[in-house]
Amino acid sequence: MPKHHVTTTINGDAREFLCDTQQTLLTVLRDELGMTGTKEGCGTGDCGACSVTLDGRLVCACLVLGVEAQGKAIQTIEGMAQGESLHVLQRKFLEHAALQCGICTPGFLIAARSLLERNPDPTEEEVRFWLAGNLCRCTGYNKIIEAVLDAARELRSTTPC
């Protein structure tokens, strides 16, 4: 059976790839396209390390088939910074020391950005519940939550009314 020829937009760029039906978007990104910023922690949607957005919707790439990405727009961690400018969330994670080993960080950044796009003024509890699908074993989540809340504050103060 021939592979599927899939055309998508990834981080704003037109991309295409070949895949078998069974290959997930995660394996396509990492092994076919060489985009290893999206991580595999479990392969079953329990850890969030493979978080990406699909047509603006936060999802686990391990729970999407490559073929299902046909015609869709994908955003991964590699597209978060703009040239030399880090996204405010990336900056805050660094300033707040919100990463130790860093393996969960791409997933958290994608998930946090998705939250702030929908809710620019979340409470600590809202942040914690939105990010419940992202596991971190190193930080105890403290500094991650602080970084997200601080990024939200800065975004609110610089967003024109």
């Binding site: 069974q22 978060m80 130790q100 509890e125 914690r128 990010l131 074993r137 403290n142």
Partner: protein, 758 residues
């Protein structure tokens, strides 16, 4: 919150700040490369066949169908690795036996746990490699299995090794058993000690095995050349140890293997050993192609080392005034399929925070049919602390003494006895207790079904071998390299210590982790040793460089070298009487280096000693739902003596992380086996580590009682934060609902059953 108990000798300019780490931008942009992120042209993928049985003899293995599958390049089994001598090598507490190690990597005569690797396939795609596994035919003779430590110690238990005679017993037993070793430490007289007590409490405890839970599965890429030289890219906590173990298991010279330190996605002790590296290396050698292996999450749970499950009995006696007069502990630890568990650590740590004259601690290392244990954050100490700190809490209530007061009364300081013999040589414990006594939250009122619990903990911390190089580049910037894998920001701490020593801004120092061919030996990133031991190597190297810089300045100025000092990043004359010389920066000296001796570079290699232990005291507020047994953490405060915090935020992060691992261990994490000895919860869905919505903000209180044996006073900070957590929570639950939990985890069904029982 920062507490200093001694004035600093000099004003620190950068140490103690929290700058952005050198690997920070790559990690927030997805550019950092972890073990699974490497690829090479012509690469093959490997998959590993694992036993479906908890205990079985391998009667035969037929590889022919697998080998015939198109795309399969090689299939290996245990006997493809050279045999190893049966012998325990190295210091007793961390002894290694390569005969066991090679069999854990690939089984030979028997499979000893569900998930035990026994064959591996390299193929052109991952899918083909997986399919080939299903074509390998293994004839197993299934044997009875045993998992629980008490069951494994029974005389009629199924034996994992028919010739295992317990070490540490005189005379040696005549019958084999599953007890690999017995250890005992004793001081004073238990009989007279307990006789003098006003209150004595003896309790028994059981804990389930738990996994380190790192989010990154083990992964590596190996490339073996036809000339016998090989390279490995591996996520580990120690690439020199990976090199040593892999070379040993393959029977190759250490110098022929170069290991690159891939970024590591969490280890906590579990990545100080090898699983996939020898397999990938051997497959690469045989196929002539690079070979990549990535473990699945299921395989990580089924086949990599969790920490021990345990069965313990602890007896403590106190006087009415709170003096602990005697302590007796029995600790039985699962080692998993092969010796050794961290039971010796447990026996040495259990009573270590308290100055007790009469102590006995006995430990049993017991094999059973589950994965071989690996280190997990202060290995052994959190387990024995659960027992000891719980009993202490019961005693505090019996004599009507506040639990912090009881601990302060018995706290060790310099000169206090230890069960090992040599007395304590550092202070710091009392200061962590005092930090909580002074904490406003400790006396905050509690509501219905809420309770507060206190516990303390001890960890040895480590020293050992580390190497560092410092190069002054042509433009005066500084390149710093060590061989210590960076699990949590240590590249930044190394750069801070170097910048402070050299007197230059942090941004002038670029800090990397070098591969095994580019720098001297470095022991693992574990045991809370890196900021201490590798920090000493870094400062040593910087001091050597300073000597060289002084010499070069002296040559440039044509004065004697003893007229030159190095201060705040410049060479200066010692006093103005020598002459009017403009201070020389690194840049100025580097510009003239060819005339003054050539490249400005040095390496320092140390075997650091003089490490100071870690002490932590914690309190925790919980609320228990009396109708469901659910426990919610309301507040958590952890005070820890770190000597000196080099990078404040990363030190806080270590404290937060250890506490939260302890919370998971206390409330929800456990290995659940079915009747066949198979793991029922081999994934993050049912192996339940804490999620963000389970927790409040954890408060880290940094206490600094500097260690005089380190240039900046550092004491290891990475591990001890986990030690008190389970007892702190058990004590809080007891305070909330008046029920004493003696088994871990304290999951809702167990708590509810305790509440509902009379």
């Amino acid at each position: 919150m920062l507490m200093k108990t001694k004035p600093t000798e000099r004003e620190l300019k950068v140490v103690g700040s929290s700058p952005v780490r050198p690997d920070g931008v790559p990690k927030v942009t997805g550019a950092a490369q972890y073990g699974a992120d490497y690829a090479l042209p012509g690469m093959l993928w490997a998959s590993i066949l694992r036993s479906p049985h908890a205990h079985a003899t391998i009667r035969s293995i037929d590889l022919s169908k697998a080998q015939a599958l198109p795309g399969v390049k090689c299939v290996i089994i245990g006997s493809d690795l050279p045999e190893q001598k049966f012998e325990y090598v190295g210091p007793e507490r961390v002894a290694v036996n390569y005969w066991h190690m090679t069999r854990n990597v690939l089984a030979r005569e028997k499979v000893l746990y569900e998930g035990h690797a026994l064959a591996a396939v390299a193929a052109t795609t991952q899918a083909i490699a997986e399919a080939a596994l299903r074509l390998i035919e293994v004839d197993y003779e299934v044997l009875p299995h045993v998992i629980d430590v008490d069951e494994a110690m029974k005389p009629d238990a199924p034996l994992l090794f028919s010739d295992m005679l317990t070490r540490g017993v005189e005379p040696a037993p005549s019958r084999p058993s599953n007890i690999s070793k017995r250890v005992e430490f004793k001081i004073g007289s238990l009989d007279s000690g307990f006789a003098s007590a006003d209150e004595v409490v003896e309790m028994s405890f059981k804990t389930a095995p738990v996994h380190q839970g790192y989010i990154e599965p083990h992964a590596c890429l190996a490339r073996f050349g036809a000339d016998g030289q090989a390279e490995l890219w591996s996520s580990s906590q120690g690439h020199f140890v990976v090199r040593a173990y892999t070379a040993k298991l393959l029977g190759m010279a250490i110098g022929d293997l170069l290991v690159h330190p891939a970024e590591i996605g969490g280890g906590f002790g579990g990545k100080t050993v090898v699983y996939v590296e020898p397999i990938a290396a051997l497959l690469s050698r045989k196929t002539g192609h690079p070979v990549k292996i990535m473990m699945s999450r299921e395989d990580v749970f089924r086949a990599t080392g969790p920490t021990s499950g345990s069965s313990m009995t602890v007896k403590l006696g106190v006087k009415k005034d709170g003096t602990i007069v005697a302590a007796d502990g029995l600790f039985k630890f699962q080692a998993g399929a092969f010796p050794s568990s961290p039971v010796m650590n447990a026996t040495l740590c259990a009573f270590a925070p308290y100055a007790i004259q009469n102590v006995r601690a006995v430990g049993f290392d017991v094999v059973s049919n589950r994965p071989k244990v690996a280190a997990y954050r202060a290995p052994g100490s959190p387990i024995s602390a659960f027992a000891v700190e719980s009993v202490l809490d019961v005693l505090a209530a019996k004599i009507g003494m506040d639990p912090l007061t009881l601990r302060l009364k018995n706290a060790v300081h310099t000169g206090s006895p230890t069960v090992q013999g040599a007395p304590h040589t550092h202070d710091g414990f009392a200061e962590t207790i005092q930090a909580l006594v002074d904490h406003p939250g400790y006396r905050a009122p509690l509501g219905k079904n809420q309770g507060r619990g206190v516990a303390s903990g001890f960890w040895f911390n480590g020293g050992g071998e580390s190497s560092a190089t410092v190069h002054i580049n042509e433009d005066g910037s500084v390149s710093l390299a060590t061989g210590s894998m960076d699990v949590g920001g240590s590249r930044a701490s190394m750069a801070l210590m170097a910048a402070e020593t050299l007197g230059v801004p942090y941004d002038k120092v670029r800090s990397i982790v070098a591969d095994t061919a580019s720098i001297g030996y470095n022991h693992v990133t574990g045991g809370s040793r890196v900021t201490f031991a590798t920090g000493i190597a870094v400062v040593d190297a910087c001091n050597k460089i300073i000597e060289s810089l002084r010499l070069r300045a002296a040559l440039m100025w044509k004065v004697d070298v003893d007229k030159v000092i190095w201060e705040y990043g410049y060479a200066r004359v010692r006093d103005s009487s020598i002459g009017d010389f403009e201070p020389l920066s690194l840049k100025a000296i580097a510009a003239q280096r060819a005339l003054t001796g050539g490249p400005i570079a040095t390496e320092a290699a140390v075997n650091a000693t003089g490490q100071a232990p870690g002490f932590s005291t914690q309190f925790c507020d919980v609320e228990v739902d009396p109708e469901t047994g659910a426990v919610k953490i309301l507040r958590y405060v952890a005070a820890q003596d770190v000597g000196r915090a080099i990078h404040r935020r990363y030190v806080e992060g270590q404290i937060h992380g250890g506490v939260v691992q302890g919370i998971g261990w206390a409330l929800n994490e456990e290995y659940i086996y079915n009747q066949q000895g198979r793991l029922a919860n081999a994934g993050f869905l049912d192996y339940r580590i804490p999620v963000a919505s389970d927790l409040p903000m954890i408060e880290a209180v940094i206490v600094e009682v500097p260690n005089p044996n380190h240039p900046f006073g550092v004491k290891g900070a990475g591990e001890v934060s986990i030690v008190p957590a389970m007892a702190a929570i058990a004590n809080a639950i007891a305070d909330a609902v008046g029920r004493r939990m003696t088994e871990l985890p304290m999951s809702p069904p167990k708590v509810l059953a305790a509440i509902d029982s009379p």
